[in-house]
Structure formats: structure tokens, C-alpha cells
Symmetry: C2
Subunit: 493 residues, 2 copies
């Protein structure tokens, strides 16, 4: 989580004027935004704990424009920050003060679809769900499905290696990206990977996916498409408590089945959902619900469904509904995918935390997480990818209340330390960003961090490309990125 830094002087207007004039020449006046309200709007992404004022926002429409804007920033030694739809939850698109935000949302064309080889080539601003919609008539879909999939972009997904409720069976973004075009921080353009899915030499595609926009700006993405499964069964299992739901998750996985999804929603989230427009008819006195989705061959699913049913009753399920049609399936999922929106009603701000623990430790960790929230007098609720052990403790708060904000930050820290002590990791799918960079030392020692820092410096030696993300802002890192640190914090909120 970002520390609060003292306000300092903004970059001089003279250097800003030169920069902005250059950017306008590259993308045109109408696609270079500098009004105060624009700078405010792009001051943070969906991590609202911290916000800064960029110098300008550019919206290029081509790889050439991206490369020119990056080359100009490199020439002027100005930090720049790539941005998709701004739905990221770890501050990966947070500008450093005075940075240029390069928004890829105008590059939203699907360039080609090869249904036989099941690949598509897309620009980074294509919305995740739009790609699946565009290939559905071929019987295909794009598997990674973040909860924000109706608005988030493929480019942002590549930066954060996004997962979603179906990660359990289908993996994360890195499992579905086979080639990239990248504008390096120097302004050079490279193509990595290949459309065959095989590539000689170092796996630069794998390096780039999940690098949170710190190694360059992705301008074209070749993705694998997956066949839509023949059949889907979606179950809603209602439990008196979260540990029982987690035990059923364990039974299912240990039986050898690979469900498409295993998602738990706790009582506090159920209450929020049922009080919102996402109302799904969940019993408000339930301790937890578990959404179980099975997909595959129709003939196979009936047997799986019976096994799940038997396990569920053995684990004391209170009620078990099987979606009879797509409308009912959508109702179950509305509770899950609408949870964050519903929680947004409870307070002006929502901090969506993200950590992973060994699946077998879910019950005890969840109990302790709730204790941490209660101790700090915070409204904390849990929605999580139980099959992956990927937790999302959510804290509803008001950042204008400095005392509450401090308690949110402290609780977040305690939750991370708890998860790491249990053998977990800092993030499952939201990335490190500026949110968790200073916690990297919890899981990596100096040798590990130095290996990562040197990797970043390969392509981003001046640290101008998305500064202050991933790596801890300890002294050695600052020294390795002297130029990126030329602009200091100017909080705008």
C-alpha cells in the first residue's frame, strides 16, 4: 500500500509545455488531455487509496503513435504510465506526479480471428467480454474472466496477468497469450512469441505478461481461444458457515474433479448483495454460499454432479440448487460478479484485497481475517476463489476519514502478513503495483529482489516506464532509477 508522501513542487510549467506540445503533435490536440478534471480522472485506477496528478493523458490510435509518445518521454526523461480501462486494483496505472498517462482505450480493434487454429489478434484496448462475444458464433471464447470483464481491457489483463472465477480450470492470462507486440521504453518496437504458440529463445512473452506495464507498452496481443464446453452445470450450495463451504471445496478437488469454478461468498457479502440491485435471492441467514460450476461433455457432467451432491450433503449443506437454465445460472453468478458493486454501496470507497493461501488453510485464515477486520472496526467481507485459495477480503471505507484510512492500511498489512506466514503469496491476480511493493520483502529476500530489479532494468534502465510499481521503494531501488525519481509526490485528493 502506498505510503503518504509530503507534497512538493510540481514539475515546472516550462518543461510541461514542451512535453505537451510534442504529445499534441503525435496524437492530435483532441487526444491529448490536460484539463484539471482530466488530470483528476486519471489520477488513480480502481485502487483509490492514493491519487496523483499526471502532466497529461494521451490516447494514441496506433503502435506508431505509442512508440512516438514513448520516444518523446524517453527524450525528455519524463515518466510515463500505460493504462487500460483503469479497473486495476493494485494501483498499476497510478501515475507518478508529472507522468504522462498513455491510455490504450482507443486501440480497440479485433485485428483477426482464426477459428480453425483458435487464435485471435487484438489491440490492447479491446474489452475482455467483447472478445468472447465476437468469437461466440465460432463456438469459442476467451477464457480469462476477471470480475470486471464487461469493461476491463485485454491489454490491462496482460499487464496484470489477470485471472477470474474460471482460473481454477482455465488458468490466468499468461496461459492464453502466445505473442505480443511491445513498444519498449526506448521507443523501439519488438514482436515476441509467435502465432504458432511455439517460440525459440527466451520466453519474452512470458516475461511481459504480468510485468504490470513496467517493461514496455503492449500494442498487439495474440491470444488462444478455447472451445465453448458442450455443457455447463452451475450449483449454489448454501451453508451455515464458511469452513463447511471450504471443506466441500476440498472434497471436490481431492476427488480428482477439475470444476470450472469454486467461489465462496460470505454472509456479510450476501447481505450487501441482497440489499443491492444485484439481488439474487440468496438466503440472508446463510453463513456462506458456494457457487460450483462444472463444464465439459454433457454425459460426464451428470456423474460429476451426483458426486458433488453426495459430498455436499456429507459436509452438511443446508440447501443445494442446480441452475435449471441460463437465467438461473446468471442469477447465481450475479451474486458473485455483482458483489463488488454491491459492496460499493456500503461506503464511498472499497478496498479489494487479494492474497493466496494454501487451500487447506482457508478456514482458519478466513476466521483470522475477520478478526483483524473486527479489531480495526472495519466493514470487512469476503468473496473468494476458494478452489485456488485466492482470497479477496474487501473493506468498505471512506478515505476522507484519515483515521479509518489508517485502519484500512493497517488491517491490509496484517492480512498480508497472516497469509504469507501461512505459506501464501502477496497477490493472486491483482498484481503488486504500488499497493504492495513495500511488502515484497515479506516473501522475497534481497537476492530474489535483486534478480527482479535487474530484469526490470534490462528494458527499463531509467525506470521511466511505469515507475514505483512492483519493486520496493527502498534505497537501492531508488538509486537504480535516479531519473524516475525526479518528480516527487503531489497528492491531489
Amino acid at each position: 500500500m502506498p505510503g503518504v508522501r509530503p507534497p512538493q513542487e510540481a514539475p515546472t510549467s516550462r518543461s510541461d509545455a514542451e512535453l505537451i506540445a510534442g504529445l499534441r503533435r503525435i496524437v492530435g490536440n483532441e487526444h491529448c488531455l490536460t484539463r484539471p478534471e482530466d488530470l483528476f480522472a486519471y489520477g488513480c485506477d480502481a485502487l483509490t487509496l492514493d491519487a496523483q496528478r499526471p502532466a497529461a493523458i494521451v490516447l494514441p490510435e496506433s503502435t506508431e503513435q505509442v512508440a512516438s509518445a514513448v520516444a518523446l518521454c524517453a527524450y525528455l526523461q519524463r515518466p510515463f504510465v500505460p493504462r487500460g480501462a483503469g479497473t486495476g486494483l493494485s494501483g498499476g496505472a497510478h501515475p507518478t506526479p508529472g507522468a504522462v498517462v498513455i491510455s490504450l482505450t482507443r486501440m480497440r480493434r479485433i485485428l483477426s480471428i482464426d477459428a480453425d487454429d483458435r487464435i485471435a489478434i487484438v489491440q490492447p484496448g479491446v474489452v475482455n467480454a467483447d472478445l468472447s462475444a465476437a468469437v461466440a458464433h465460432h463456438g469459442l471464447f476467451y477464457a480469462p474472466d476477471p470480475s470486471s470483464q464487461q469493461v476491463c481491457t485485454i491489454g490491462g489483463n496482460v499487464a496484470e496477468n489477470s485471472g477470474g472465477p474460471h482460473t481454477l480450470k482455465y488458468g490466468t492470462t499468461t496461459d492464453h497469450v502466445i505473442a505480443l507486440e511491445i513498444v519498449l521504453p526506448s521507443g523501439d518496437v519488438v514482436r515476441v512469441g509467435s502465432d504458432t504458440g511455439f517460440a525459440a529463445g527466451y520466453d519474452l512473452t512470458g516475461v511481459a505478461v504480468g510485468s504490470e506495464g513496467t517493461l514496455g507498452i503492449v500494442t498487439e496481443v495474440t491470444v488462444r481461444l478455447s472451445p465453448i464446453p458442450e455443457a455447463v452445470e452451475t450449483l449454489l450450495a448454501i451453508f451455515d458457515d464458511v469452513p463447511s463451504a471450504c471443506r466441500l471445496v476440498g472434497r471436490i478437488i481431492e476427488s480428482g474433479m477439475v470444476p470450472a469454478s469454486l467461489e465462496v461468498i460470505d454472509r456479510r457479502t450476501i447481505e450487501a448483495v441482497e440489499a443491492s440491485v444485484y439481488r439474487a435471492g440468496l438466503p440472508q441467514d446463510a453463513g456462506a454460499v458456494l457457487i460450483i460450476e462444472l463444464d465439459g461433455a454433457a454425459c460426464e457432467l451428470q456423474a460429476q454432479l451426483e458426486r458433488v451432491r453426495a459430498f455436499a450433503y456429507e459436509e452438511g449443506v443446508r440447501g443445494l440448487e442446480v441452475a435449471r437454465d441460463d437465467a438461473e445460472r446468471a442469477r447465481f453468478w450475479r451474486a458473485r460478479k455483482g458483489a463488488f458493486g454491491a459492496l460499493g454501496r456500503l461506503a464511498p470507497d472499497l478496498y479489494v484485497h487479494d492474497a493466496v493461501v494454501p487451500r487447506t488453510k482457508l478456514p482458519e485464515i478466513l476466521e483470522k481475517i475477520c478478526e483483524i477486520g473486527d479489531r480495526h472496526r472495519l466493514r470487512l467481507s469476503n468473496v473468494f476463489h476458494a478452489g485456488d485459495g485466492n482470497l479477496h477480503p474487501n473493506i468498505s471505507f471512506d478515505r476522507r476519514d484519515p483515521d479509518e484510512l489508517a485502519r484500512v492500511i493497517e488491517a491490509g498489512r496484517e492480512i498480508l502478513e497472516l497469509c504469507v506466514a501461512a505459506g501464501g503469496v502477496l497477490t493472486g491476480e491483482h498484481g503488486v503495483g504500488n499497493e504492495k511493493r513495500d511488502y515484497m520483502g515479506l516473501v522475497f529476500d534481497d537476492v530474489d529482489l535483486d534478480a527482479m530489479r535487474r530484469l526490470r532494468d534490462v528494458w527499463n534502465p531509467d525506470g521511466l516506464c511505469n515507475p514505483d510499481k512492483i519493486m520496493p521503494t527502498t534505497r537501492p531501488c531508488m538509486e537504480s532509477n535516479p531519473k524516475a525519481r525526479g518528480y516527487d509526490a503531489v497528492p491531489i485528493d
Copy 2:
């Protein structure tokens, strides 16, 4: 393919003596080999086109011994080369003259198996097939299955990102490795990835897999295990020619099915197999056979099998056998997995080529590859992963015949250029090694290669760790690795 370099003076015996004394202190006398016959045996891997004389072979038994040996090499500025079972086909374990070969074959313990979470932690010297055997009673297997799986090691598989006949459905090694312990070229030990399958920060695991031992030496591997499918159906489809077999491959894939394997064996390979101990009863007048393996739920496979049968008859199949039991399945696979052994009978040496082309271009490319072989008067046969478009043209030859050797090298070059011109890539699963480093320029421009070179230099700045692999030996690369070039070629054969 390695150029033939002029013989030069070997490193002085004085520096060798100091090195060897140090290595003996680390691993013990009996695990440091320096007799001429040892140096000869470790002079190459399964790419026999070129061989060099190392200074010594060490066989460490622990991470600490590997780290000490590496640190000693770094201190003495001596190149070192990690080696698994030596089955690699791109020269990835070829020592540069005077290098220390660090063989990991004594580190062959399976350290832990977690059947519930379906992961195992193994040392790098564990034999691929032994891991599957060790977890079979849990209903699990390790999916990547190179043809050499009875002898090749997991560590070597990690280095080369190995695939196999089941890559089509299950992916390559990188899809199954979630964490690594690595001794860096400095002698430092890092742990990358995590046993949960999620990891914060840069994907160093992904970078290391497939880096061909040039970024460090892997000393521990955490792999995902896969559930053994409920049912398997294996078909042998007999065709008059290769294009018909390839058309059936296209029909199956385009229908949306994801078979476990689609493997083509051409007439010349059938003849070799049938004349060998691997005899599988294939009709020797067939133009090609296609092995089709389907796996999954039993109820699902019957429908798939009927669809494949219908497609096969539409594409003019001459005969179609469905394995009635495991013995018959083993017979079909004996033809495929024994092909390289059978071809080994034809001549003292076998050059197993490896390239990938878009699947739809298989028929025309295969015809042209056969033409290239014929034009150079070479015994060329084809066995290939048709579903992936991953070709293995195999050339039987005698390296003691310099004219034939030159023709093998020239034909290999022409085949690569042909595949790349068709939109393909240099290697599907064997790696670049020293075999194809000088062809990297066919698919990558200077900016791409510079990005890769800088990545290598992150951890391997002196180039001592497995020199002369992957990157072209052009002047800039030589300059970036001045120390690695201190020893020049001393061919030993």
C-alpha cells in the same frame, strides 16, 4: 548448427589443476571425473554433429555443492555447463572447450508429493517417466512426455521447455512448472514462483523454463501433476500418403475436439520401424500412419471416436484400427516412440531436426522437405506432432564422412529457411542450443535479439553459464561475453 572452428590450444594444465583440486574438495574425488574417456563421453549430448572436450565433470549431490561448484567457476572465470541425461537434441549440454560440466543426475530424489493439491517437488535429476510412475497410485501423472521420457530428466526438460506427443492437449513443461530453486551464475541461490501456483512480481519461473541452462542451474522443481483421464482411446489410421493424414488432422482440430495426440509417421519411418526391434505390425506399403489418441470421460470418448471415424473415411483412410486394450495401445505407441531408435539403426548418426509450421501448411512443407533431402542425397524421414505443426525431419548419416556431414548441415539450413518462410519458427521443443543459434536472425531482428541478449546478461553477465547457446555468435554477442570466449574450440572427434 555449430560452425566448425579451428583447433586451438587447450587451457593450461596449471589452471586446470587449480580448478580440479577445488572441484574435488566440493564434490569428493569420486564425483569429479577427469579421465580422457569421461571427457569424451561428456563431449556432446544427443546432438552429435559437434563435440568438445570439457576440463572436468562434477556430479554434485546437493544444492550447496552445485552452488559451491558454480561459485568456484565464477571465481576462476571458468565456463560451466549444466547437464541432465544428455538426451538434448540442440546441443544445449555441449561443453565449450575447457568448461566444467555440472551433471545433475545424482540429484534424483522426489522430495515430496502432495496428491490433494496435485503438486510434487523434485530434484532436477529425477527421470521424467519415474515421476509419473511414482504418482500413478494417486491417479495422477506428470504430463510433459518427451520421446526420451524413459531416460531424460525433469531438470533437462525445464531447461529446454520440453514437449512431447501429448503437448497438443497438455502443453509443454512451462505449463506444468510453478516454482524453482536456481543457483545463479554468481553462486547465489534464489527461489522463484510459489507452490500455490501464484507468484507476485516478475515471472522468473517462466523466464527460467526454456532458458536452456543459460541463466543458472535449477536444483529443485515444483511441478503440477494432472489427473489420469478416466478413459483413453487410441486409433491407428493408415493412409496412402502424408497429405491425407494431415487433412484428417485438420478436420479433427477444426471440429473443436482437443485430442491428446495427433502423430504422423511417414513411409520411410515405417520401413525403419518395421525392420527394427520396435516392429509394430504397420503395413509397409502405407504412405503414412496417423496415431490419434483421445482421452477424457469414458462416456464422451465414444461420440468423439465415431466423429473421428467418419472424418477418416471422408479423407480416404485405408484402414483404421482402434486399440482394443493397453497392449495394443502400447504397440501403436511403440512405432512412434521407438521411431528414433529404429532410425538409429540406419546409420551411425541421426540428426533429429525440429521446426514448427502453421498446421494448414503441413502437406506442402513436408513435400518440399522430402525434396530437400533427396536433392542432397540424404536418408530423410519424418515423424511429427501433426496437431501442433511441429515437424521432426530426421536425417540418418555418418559424421565421419565430411561430405555427407556438410550435406546434412546444408539440408538442415534449407529446411529451417523453408519453415520460417512459411510463417513457422525455429524449434518446437528441442531448443536453440548451439545447433540453431546462428539462425535466430531468420526470425528475430536486431532489436529483438538485443532484448534477449540483455535478458541473458541480467543473471549471466560474464556469459560463463552455458556459453554459446541461444544467442547468435555475432560480434556484438562476443563482445558482451568477453570472458566466456577465453577458451576456443578444441574439437575432440
